[in-house]
Symmetry: C2
Subunit: 396 residues, 2 copies
């Protein structure tokens, strides 16, 4: 016989109260200390009492493989003085940070706790490029996936790019437009890996070939870095003097974990699905998004993201970006941080760095602020679409 007793958990809206982010790019700082730096920034930015933080979700992909360090979550909790806080490490390849944020949001939304900290961290530059490429391949299914075919992630996304060019007429100029825009944006983000290093269409097109059609500038760099967010209940958010940003939707989906299990190569279907769900939850249409940070691990991925997110019709991602509409001065700026391509891509940190940028845009305290942004979106993709997290954030 089952007892009828029900625990009184109060459900709630979740808000981002504080954010933090280290500089991205090669760092002398050890892994744990990167996480501590971003975590401390977020806690200070939130102005929250440490004893209020009940849960830590730490997104990381490769500390085991690259630093021989596991069980990182309680180490970071202890380093931040959150020693009584339940601390869990979560992994979803390049979506690890997004999942950490999503779990923090769900914990607060569902009334499990009033405040949770999400941190994403990765340190990759101490390893060789070949080693990092191999480590990244671990995000494909080793039994039925690409390793058997020798495919790496540049190769996987290059095949998607080729298919997109074949089916929709996407061009090399479209790819270069993505790389150029994000590098331009990064010139206004002092934390970006390529801050102070502008480029030109000519340099992009002349850079060395990586995996056809991708040249060096089509690929995100190898990076170190960490980002963090403090997620709180409505009650705590009300004490934040207007700086809290509401999480209108946070959606995590699962999708194919190898190329051959995808139903088509011109879309990340789990992202399309997550976006639809997120718009439904938030009660908005794609056109209402003012600013977005999307997962441009390669230039073609940003083109596909525009379509998956409903920012433009299917097949028109290339022309849409080339039109300038997603530049700072356009109608819907995308990747104002510089994106993964130019801000850098410390894998586990990326999902939270996206939240960092969007929250600061909505608050109006970003490094270069888009005027009047009220609705922001983040789009974080792991593996071949195996894990996706999409968040819609709103200024109220």
């Amino acid at each position: 016989m089952l007892r009828g007793e029900r625990v009184g958990v109060s459900s709630d809206q979740a808000y981002v109260m504080g954010v933090g982010c280290t500089a991205f790019g090669p760092q002398p700082t050890p892994l744990k200390h990167l996480a501590l730096e971003a975590g401390r920034q977020a806690l200070v930015n939130a102005g929250i009492d440490l004893t209020k933080i009940d849960r830590l979700y730490l997104g990381n992909f490769a500390a085991g493989l690259l630093q021989s360090q596991q069980l990182l979550a309680p180490m970071v909790a202890a380093g931040l003085g959150l020693s009584r806080c339940a601390a869990s490490a979560v992994e979803g390849a390049c979506a690890s940070g997004g999942i950490a944020f999503h779990l923090a949001v769900r914990a607060v939304e569902s009334g499990q706790c009033e405040a949770a900290l999400a941190i994403g961290v990765e340190k990759m530059t101490a390893a060789s490029t070949a080693q990092v490429t191999q480590v990244l391949v671990s995000a494909m299914d080793q039994l039925s996936g690409e390793p058997a075919t020798g495919l790496t992630f540049p190769g996987f996304f290059a095949l998607l790019a080729q298919r997109h060019m074949e089916v929709y007429g996407t061009t090399l100029d479209h790819l270069a437009a993505v790389a150029l825009k994000n590098r331009m944006h990064a010139q206004f983000n002092p934390r970006a890996q390529f801050y102070g290093r502008p480029t030109t269409q000519e340099e992009i097109r002349a850079s060395r070939l990586i995996a056809s059609p991708f040249r060096l500038f089509d690929c995100s760099p190898i990076s170190d870095g960490s980002a963090a967010a403090v997620v709180v209940s409505e009650r705590l958010a009300r004490q934040g003097a207007g700086k809290a940003i509401r999480v209108a939707a946070s959606v995590q989906t699962a999708g194919p974990t190898s190329l051959q299990s995808m139903s088509r190569l011109t879309s990340i279907e789990s992202a399309e699905q997550a976006a639809k769900e997120a718009y439904g939850k938030a009660g908005i249409r794609p056109e209402e998004v003012n600013v977005a940070e999307v997962h441009d691990c390669f230039t073609a991925a940003e083109i596909i993201a525009m379509e998956d997110l409903g920012f433009c019709p299917i097949g028109e991602g290339g022309p849409y970006i080339a039109s300038g509409e997603t530049q700072f001065s356009g109608s819907r700026p995308v990747n104002l941080s510089g994106g993964l391509l130019s801000k850098g891509h410390p894998v586990g940190a990326t999902g939270l760095a996206q939240v960092f940028e969007v929250v600061r845009q909505l608050r109006g305290d970003a490094d270069r602020v888009v005027p009047n942004a009220r609705v922001g979106l983040t789009h974080n993709v792991g593996g071949t679409g195996g894990s996706v997290v999409i968040n819609i954030l709103m200024k109220e």
Copy 2:
């Protein structure tokens, strides 16, 4: 201004509706397939429609390091036919499985979903013992922890054992009593790594020295295996024809991640704290626990667990176990499965294998059933106490 709208999330009690567990020990089966086997068993055992499972939490420690496989959660979700289910991998060293279960319980308790699947999995026997020992060391803080001192986990727990002997007079006979009891219990568990391999006090005492005072039989073996549990809401549990077991408490705590940050060496304080919280939540006293699965990674760890859990006074864990009270025929059997020592210890699976045994004891369908057990406890420890999960399960 913050909007006052509140989402109607129904809070609930969580129940274990189904459990699964592979054989433990060296297996030819690949990692992913071990997880699929335990997951399928649990789903079939629960008799639940796959479309009801909204969340998968996959506990794993070392697939990245040992199989070069990350992003395992969506791969397992897809393999089980749960392709629309949000799937997250979680890591907390030897408590990875416990954390996966805890997060599934919290997701259901808080009304996030009506049904969640937790799976724990590890495949370790393909690597050399030296490699596994090194991989396990990654669960200590690499910056401020034992690696600088050359300490491994057998060394760490051996120091705790030595201190316990020094302070409380615990003896080698007490340690041997733990090893002997758990090996005896394993003779009734066909899934146990040492099923069909009984031992004697003489063999235990004569086995080769590993880290003084530990000999071979004081140490859990290197294992492959997977275990799983389906956690459901009260509404779904009511459809389960009495086989659902209530989760009266599930508590996760964080603790020290290195020896030198512990305040004393004779207790895992984060486990003591988690136990107190769990008893409080469940509304019971330690004496009311009928059956327990505890984290006996080494014999001394079970002695310390008896004290941390309040099963006996501090310092008396050795005599308590030697008295026979925790044997099958005693008043409170502990580690009827054989424990980590004799059932085996596939790191990420252990926390869920404990749930598997306790649920089947409470239901009365275990391999050897303790009569009239109503309250069961699981105790899962990661690293040097960095992550701990304690669950109290009740038959209703």
